[in-house]
Structures are given as C-alpha cells and as structure tokens.
C-alpha cells in the first residue's frame, strides 16, 4: 500500500471543495438545522416537564453524536459517488490504485468533511444551548470512536450496494441512517423497544453507545460492560463491510459490471 495514491483520492475531494465552495453548504447547513431544532425542543421539554431533568445533554448530545456518525457515513458515500457521477471508474480502476488505498482515501476524505460539521454542531450546541459535551469525560472518546467506525462501516456497505446494483440504487443509500435510527435507541433507553427490535438493536454498535451515554449522564461510571461489546461489534462489522466491498468489486471485475459502469452512469 502506498501513501501517494491515497493522497490523490483525498486531494481530489479538496479540489472539488476548492473549485465549488457551495459544496461546503450542505456539510454545515443540515447539522446546524438539526442542532437548532433539537436545541429548542429540549428547552421546551425542560420548561414543561417539571421533573427537574435536564434534556439538553440526553437529547441534544444524542442528536450531535448520531449526526456525527451519519455524516461520516455520508462523507464516505459521497466521495465514492463523486466517481459514479463523474463516470470515473474506468480511469480510476485501470490505474494501479489498490481497493484498500481507495477505501482509505474515502475514509480520510470523510473525516475531513465531517469534522467541519462536528465543529459547527459543537459550537452551536455549546454556545447557544449550553451543552457541556466534554462533561462525559474519557468515555466520550470511546463513544465517538465507535460511532466513527460505525459510520465508516455504513459508508462502505452503502458504496458496495451502489457498486453491485448500479448507479440507480443510490436512493437506497441515503435513508439508511433514518431506517436504523429507531433501532439504535438514540433518544430512548433500549428497554423501551419491543423484544424483536431489541434483538436487532443489539447488532448495532450505536445502541451500546447511547445506552452508555445515558448511564454516564445519570452519574454512573462509564459502563465498560456496554462499551466493550459495542466497540468489538463495530470493529467486526467494519471488517465484514470491507470484505463485502472487496467481494463486490471482484464480482464487478469478473462479470464486466465495472467496465459497463460508465455507460450505466450516463443513463
């Protein structure tokens, strides 16, 4: 594996942002809207609940972390889709670029683009709604790491779907976070879900993160018993997603799908 091809994939995205700064707009706008909307909802809940419970960290903190994960996923997918949209597969995959180099380039690109969104979210949530995000302590690093790995996994899996099913399947990719959100127990304890949904939730690393977050915010110690399996699951699913992507790529090379991809992209 070489660094320069990876740098090429990242540089390409930087060129795109430099050439068309309007691309920065969606990276900032949607997360800002989410934080503002949920910020006011939490304020309202605080004012009417009368329980003395502070909804800001549990709800707004959850929104911030879930958005971070989904932006990572979208960063990977969008960087991949740039090659679909610009019909660049023939030039790209006839070069000596390794699939691992390509995927690592997509992930680094995603880190850069989603970091921007994270900074905006943190600023708004802290300055406007008084969220003390760092109060979660060292556990926060693990929470974000697991969500990062989960976002990368979803991005790779989504890209594999598009590579296998063709450019028209792009619409399957975008609703993935919304479909998974109810199972991930972002806003409510896992026990709220019916048993069959809990079974699915246990396969999703974010459910461990959000359970852990609620425990920490309730003043309990960082639940290693929750975070360890969550992190292991995230790592395992990442390996599976990367394996699936490689298999799909191999299939595309064997069947001629990759060579036909440019023609299909134009349709």
């Amino acid at each position: 594996m070489k660094l320069r091809p990876i740098a090429g994939i990242v540089l390409r995205q930087i060129y795109l942002l430099r050439g068309s700064p309007v691309r920065l707009f969606p990276m900032i706008t949607w997360v800002a809207i989410d934080i503002v909307l949920w910020g006011f909802i939490t304020r309202y809940l605080n004012s009417v609940s009368g329980s003395g419970m502070n909804f800001v960290p549990t709800l707004l903190g959850a929104v911030l972390m879930w958005d971070f994960g989904t932006r990572i996923m979208q960063g990977v997918s969008t960087a991949f889709l740039e090659d679909v949209w610009s019909r660049n597969f023939l030039n790209l995959f006839s070069s000596p670029l390794l699939i691992s180099e390509y995927v690592i380039g997509l992930v680094i690109t995603s880190v850069l683009t989603s970091s921007l969104g994270l900074v905006v979210m943190l600023f708004l949530a802290t300055a406007v709604f008084g969220l003390h995000f760092l109060a979660m302590g060292a556990a926060l690093v693990v929470f974000l790491l697991v969500l990062f790995v989960f976002g990368v996994t979803l991005g790779i899996a989504g890209s594999a779907i598009v590579l296998r099913l063709g450019p028209a399947s792009e619409w399957l990719l975008w609703p993935l976070p919304a479909v998974l959100a109810p199972f991930a127990a972002v806003f409510y304890p896992l026990a709220t879900l019916p048993h069959w949904m809990q079974a699915i939730a246990r396969c999703l690393p974010p459910s461990y993160v959000f359970e852990g977050m609620r425990a920490v915010l309730a003043g309990r110690p960082a639940p290693i018993g929750l975070l360890a399996p969550g992190a292991a699951l995230a790592g395992g699913e990442l390996v599976i997603a990367a394996y699936v992507y490689c298999r799909v790529y191999r299939h595309a090379v064997r069947t001629g799908l990759l060579a036909r991809y440019s023609a299909e992209s134009s349709g």
Binding site: R4, L11, R12, S86, L90, N91, S94, S95, P96, L97
Partner: protein, 260 residues
C-alpha cells in the same frame, strides 16, 4: 503473419496476450486470442461493433477478468502483479473522459498521484506544454471542447510515461485537423519514447496512416494480421476499408476455414 522486427528481439515486448478468452454464459466475447505489441510499435485492433475490441482492452486494463489466458505488460503478469503491470500502462478512450468538475491541472495531479509519478509538478507542466493546454490549465475539463478534452485525456494517458498505451477510438469525436495533430503526436510518441500502442479505430484511413500492424477481430477471434498497407492486396481488396467490410460481413466459419 507478423511484422515483428527481429532486430528488436523479444525484450522489447510491451504487451503479450496469450490464449485470452472471455465468456458470458455460453457466449464467447473474446475467444482464444493471442498477440503481442512491441515497444515503439503501433498496432491497430480492428473489427466491427461487438467484435471484442473493447472487451480485450478492458481485460488488458484489469477492468475485466479473463475466463482464460494471460496478459503480460512488459514482463509482468497482470494477474500475478496488478500494481506493477498497471503502473506500466495507461489508456485514453472517448467514453472515459476525465472528471469534468476538475481542471486540467487538477486532473493531471490527481492521476499522477494514483500512478505514483515522481517529480509530478514538472511532469504536469511538461504535458500541459506538450499538448498545448497552457491557456486551459485552470479550466474545468467539462468545459473543454471535444478536441481539447482529447488532448487532456492523452496528457493523462502519458502521465506515467507508459510502456504500453491503449487508445480506444481516441479521435472519434475530433475534426479532421485535430485528429491529424493527435495522430502525429501518437506516432511520434511510439518512435521517440518507444511506447507500444494498441489502437482501436473505425477510420481505416487513420489506421493506414498510423499503424505498423493491424489485427482484424470478428466474433472474438483474430481473423487477419499484417501490415495495413500490404494486407488489402494480399487478400484481393482494393483498400483496407474494402477488406474491413468484407471481413466484417463474411461468416466466421468461412474465414477461419480459409485461413487454416
């Protein structure tokens, strides 16, 4: 029939394809094809639509896995060492334009990094000057005319100083003047840089002007091979175009029976 210059020896082989085949179910898109391209030689891959030309090129580029056979670029087997093999090659095709949302310079830098080109800044400047793209270097490729896009694609195809260059109908969208300039560039590239070139085209005038040797492909098989200036006379055709039309319309069994 082969026009390989024995003086060059076998060391100068840019591409060697042996028993290459690609089957889709029961249909053979490419059927037991063997040929080679010497360094410094321009070989035309001719044939009607669906003959297997692009399938062959895609297999050489690693975009399509052969069902049978081997592809060696220089002395490197593509299946055994994909990175080393593809580092020695490059391609340009009318259907594989450079990303239109990057400028000419950005595209060349991007692909230069993918090919791990050393001294990239200098190489990009050289190619921009060589292909008369200086005034367009900061223009997005999507805004270039067909001729300018072809020049940019050729500049990208040479970014890694390939030993083997694959050109799939590179002049298809060009006016005669622009096509002539591109042909001259490619011809001089083969002679000056000793680059082996595999060229597909439907323009027989162009093939005759540029290619040292041609291969006629039909139904996935090589039917004829030879010097494009001599080949028509050997087969009782007035021109290369007449020969092309005859080969394209002839039933495969008749031709293969004839050649055996």
């Amino acid at each position: 029939m082969s026009t390989v210059n024995p003086a060059r020896g076998d060391d100068g082989v840019a591409l060697r394809i042996q028993n290459l085949g690609k089957r889709y179910g029961g249909v053979a898109a490419v059927d037991d094809v063997s040929f080679h391209v010497q360094r410094g030689e321009v070989v035309g891959l001719l044939g009607p639509n669906g003959a297997g030309k692009t399938t062959t090129i895609n297999m050489v580029l690693g975009l399509l896995e052969p069902t049978t056979g081997t592809v060696r670029i220089g002395h490197v087997d593509l299946r055994e060492n994909r990175v080393a093999a593809l580092s020695r090659t490059n391609f340009a095709a009318v259907y594989a334009a450079l990303p239109g949302n990057l400028t000419v310079t950005e595209n060349l830098r991007f692909f230069g990094l993918l090919y791990d080109v050393r001294g990239l800044r200098r190489r990009v400047d050289e190619l921009i000057e060589e292909f008369d793209l200086t005034h367009l270097r900061h223009t997005k490729c999507g805004l270039l005319s067909s001729g300018e896009q072809t020049r940019a694609a050729l500049a990208k195809a040479l970014i890694n100083r390939p030993q083997l260059l694959l050109l799939d109908e590179p002049t298809a969208s060009l006016d005669p003047s622009a096509a002539q300039i591109v042909r001259q560039k490619i011809k001089s590239l083969a002679t000056a840089d000793r680059c082996g070139i595999l060229w597909t085209s439907h323009n027989m005038y162009e093939v005759e002007a540029v290619c040292d040797r041609v291969l006629f492909l039909s139904h996935g098989k090589i039917l004829l091979e030879g010097n494009p200036k001599i080949l028509p006379g050997l087969h009782g055709a007035a021109t290369l175009e007449d020969l092309f039309i005859r080969v394209a319309r002839e039933p495969l069994a008749e031709r293969t029976g004839d050649s055996s």
